[in-house]
Symmetry: C2
Subunit: 516 residues, 2 copies
């Protein structure tokens, strides 16, 4: 069945109330009953939640074939938790598990043998890259992976689409009762935002830490009242791979040009007012936009009320210089933001649900004035792909892309027209992650396209030096320089479903033939 974007979702996946994507605000006002976990009441004092090792914990949780387990990616490329837990589960011979991760990457390669032998038969994740991306793209996972945005994952947990049996939460510090934090310890992640919902909605909640502290470990990202077991291990992650010392600040003139034009679009948009809010990503042009923002804020004599999202050093610098009043942090991307999360009283941890869940009573993305996002591909309908490479391979992550794009008043995509000799702007994206109706501006190194529905922005940019072009012109330029991209041939097998933040399917990704 085709959705409103013309993307075909095979009928076999449209069971149990599942629908195809029908527009970004299609389910606004939807009324539902939240998922409720089963809880084992601890009335009696004096019980010890500490167990000696991962195996004891897995056994204590009663984990069985067919259950759902969850993990987070705050430890990023330094994460030891997923492999550590999966090895024990693998050895215990538990099969047919669903892994619901906030994201997966190269630290989680032990999932590949687990996929291959049926230990894991379902995966739900934002990022799906590297070896896991290849294994899933090749159709090795029994059922299609579900690709979810951060807001969509929070929603799926709260509305019961995903019922987590056991949440395994790596935490930098915990007390013996499970009050756990991303702060301190040996593997500091600053925040634990992606696990707030897991702790509240999973039946069993396990804290895995390498740094046990005395009670109360406050402020706690995860409350001990939600935690069944605590286990101390030697190390939850490699601190050197968790947060990079500094993200790359571009010196590429094309990237700087795009960054300046993105900042200029914000400046002239009509929404660049004192107290405005914004989010930028961690890519080169996004980081550089933050720098130019400072100049434009001086020029307009405005300050930012709050910046949100994955927090990076340039954002922290603006914050410390008084240009941003508050930071709302759902992920610390580098050492500077981890440090700021500890020490700055106006640097606040927010949960994934507060950040972006479309099914609560109003997430912070709804209050965003601006968001700067990247793209692997953009098409002439402004649809964006950030999940699938142009070669058909799963290699990206929606992250908060569809969430912030739907929420922000002005959504700006920054992407080079051509990347690795392949057109970024094209007639149709390989798969849709974020619908074109959520995208307002596309900034490339060859010009800036405004979504025609944003007549207000077109009017606001009219007498400026923003190099406006139609999206079709940008596509034509891209094809002129890089050639028209060849269609990739796919098998019939669906290897991943791209779930829109509201639970509808926005695309179905098939196995590329060349992977045979």
């Amino acid at each position: 069945m085709k959705n409103v974007l013309g993307r075909d979702i095979p009928a076999e996946f449209l069971t149990a109330g599942r629908e195809v994507f029908q527009g970004q605000y299609y389910r606004d006002g939807y009324t539902y009953t939240k998922h409720a976990p089963r809880v084992n009441a601890q009335v009696k004092p004096g019980k010890d939640k500490l167990l000696p090792d991962i195996e004891a914990v897995v056994r204590a949780t009663g984990l069985q074939d067919g259950m759902t387990i969850s993990f987070h990616h705050h430890l990023r490329d330094g994460d030891y938790i997923v492999n550590m837990v999966m090895k024990v589960i693998h050895e215990l011979g538990i099969k047919d598990l669903t892994v619901c991760a906030s994201s997966l990457g190269k630290a989680h390669d032990y999932l590949v043998p687990c996929i291959e032998d049926g230990t894991v038969t379902n995966i739900s994740t934002s990022g799906i890259r590297d070896e896991i991306g290849e294994a899933v793209s090749a159709g090795k996972l029994k059922n299609p992976a579900i690709i979810r945005s951060h807001g969509g994952r929070a929603r799926a947990i709260e509305d019961g689409t995903v019922k987590i049996d056991v949440a395994f939460i790596g935490a930098a510090t915990s007390d013996p009762y499970g009050n756990a934090s991303g702060k301190g310890g040996k593997a500091d992640t600053g925040v634990l935002s992606y696990m707030a919902g897991d702790a509240q909605y999973a039946d069993k909640v396990v804290i895995i830490t390498d740094t046990l502290v005395s009670s109360p470990n406050f402020p706690a990202s995860i409350e001990g009242v939600d935690v069944d077991y605590v286990v101390q291990v030697d190390a939850i992650g490699d601190p050197h791979k968790i947060a990079t010392g500094a993200l790359r600040l571009t010196s590429d003139t094309r990237e700087l040009l795009m960054a300046k034009n993105a900042a200029k679009c914000m400046y002239y948009s009509g929404f660049f007012k004192d107290g405005f809010s914004f989010q930028t990503g961690a890519g080169g042009p996004s980081l550089a936009t933050t720098i130019f923002l400072k100049e434009f804020m001086d020029q307009a004599n405005v300050k930012c009320g709050w910046a949100m999202g994955g927090i990076t050093e340039p954002i922290v610098d603006l914050f410390k210089a008084g240009y941003i009043h508050n930071l709302l942090d759902d992920q610390a991307f580098d050492l500077a933001s981890v440090a700021s999360a500890h020490t700055d009283p106006k640097h606040f941890e927010i949960s994934a649900s507060q950040y972006a869940n479309p099914f609560n009573k109003g997430a912070f993305v709804n209050q965003l004035d601006f968001v700067i996002l990247g793209a692997l591909e953009v098409d002439v309908d402004f649809n964006v792909n950030v999940v699938q490479g142009s070669n058909g391979l799963l290699q990206g992550a929606p992250g908060g892309h569809p969430d912030t794009a739907a929420g922000a008043t002005v959504t700006i995509i920054v992407a080079p027209l051509i990347r690795s000799r392949i057109a970024t702007v094209r007639t149709a994206v390989t798969s849709v992650t974020t619908p074109g109706e959520s995208i307002d501006i596309v900034v490339t190194d060859y010009g800036v396209a405004v979504n025609p529905k944003r007549t207000d922005l077109l009017a606001a940019f009219k007498d400026t030096n923003i190099p406006l072009k139609s999206i079709e012109t940008l596509r034509d330029l891209a094809y002129e320089y890089a050639g028209e991209p060849k269609d990739i041939e796919f098998e019939d097998q669906v290897v991943a479903l791209v779930e829109y933040r509201d639970g509808t399917f926005i695309d179905a990704i098939k196995k590329p033939k060349w992977l045979n």
Copy 2:
């Protein structure tokens, strides 16, 4: 049907799975599914939660006959919220409501006409005093009031015993999206602990504030993602009646004697070790105990890991002097504790569930070493009454009494042997609030009784100058000095049910005949 304490619970109340009290840890390990609220998803940005007045809010929530509404008592005797909301509801002619309040007192007298004309037919509360106490004692409420401890209320909300349709939350400050706090503004309560569960489990959540601030109002006690509507009013409370300048520090030599003996019991108990935890109440002897505690901590060269509960100035003083490392605050009793809640980074707000809910995965009461509590009456089985006057009138509140008593390693009751010429220690309490099995020590001005089951404490106190007496001896002394109390005569009508923290009925309170 008689419960294990011999208290008769009429069969008519033992429906829908309700049971009689069967021991403090009877439901340990009980597995249940948490209550889940209905939520109206706010997918679309740009919606305004602000409504012009209380009537508009009541109409927007869809409040109807027979529904349940909730309130908190952080504004204490200065609260305007309950009367303000009830007047609108009364005028709208909505009937047969259940009021689920964290506590009720003299600020809430508008409930009396609402009780009398059937606007309110059920009440669930901790405190029930003054005019409301008299009205309920006289049988004017259609159905028996349910008396719940703070932990019991948190449990009832989480396990679905109470399904709150609309929570009306007075907040010192809020942003337009409903991120609300007890801090700041004109009617500062320091914390909003009793409403954390209401915000998460009620279908509709309303913030009523007199101080609207810009977004984000962080740190937020109530998260905007749980809030449907926000309304600004002129004043939510009278700041002079919210927190008293200073609670009475006793100069009564009998009270000082009791306080010193209570502190001495802690000192000699065997549990007075570095990092210990404790809670004291706001009564004269409790406050004085805190003073003596300092001497004994110096003597033993120990510091307190954390103090919890209703926080008072003497506790804050010890904390600021470095004798207590952390404060866990579910209620600020005076201006000093309100101020400390704002400024001291180790002064933490905890929810009622974190504090005392027996049905989560381990509340902080489970980790208490000591609690000092008061009593209206104590009997020779160590049962305590803090709800009903010896004249049969409802006039007290369980608060955290049964919760902390069940959780703490050493539970100490401090009460004068005789009060207003009536024996406090007696053969049987008028009604049971906290079972004797939870009580370890009773400190009176005529001696100290240790529960015989605590052979460890009896051994520890053997060669000390603690004036040990049996509880029967204390009772005999009380009767010798004040006379044996006369039995009060009651009608058959049950006017209140005392619900133990786990949801079982520990007592049923009947209408005193003299109220006819």
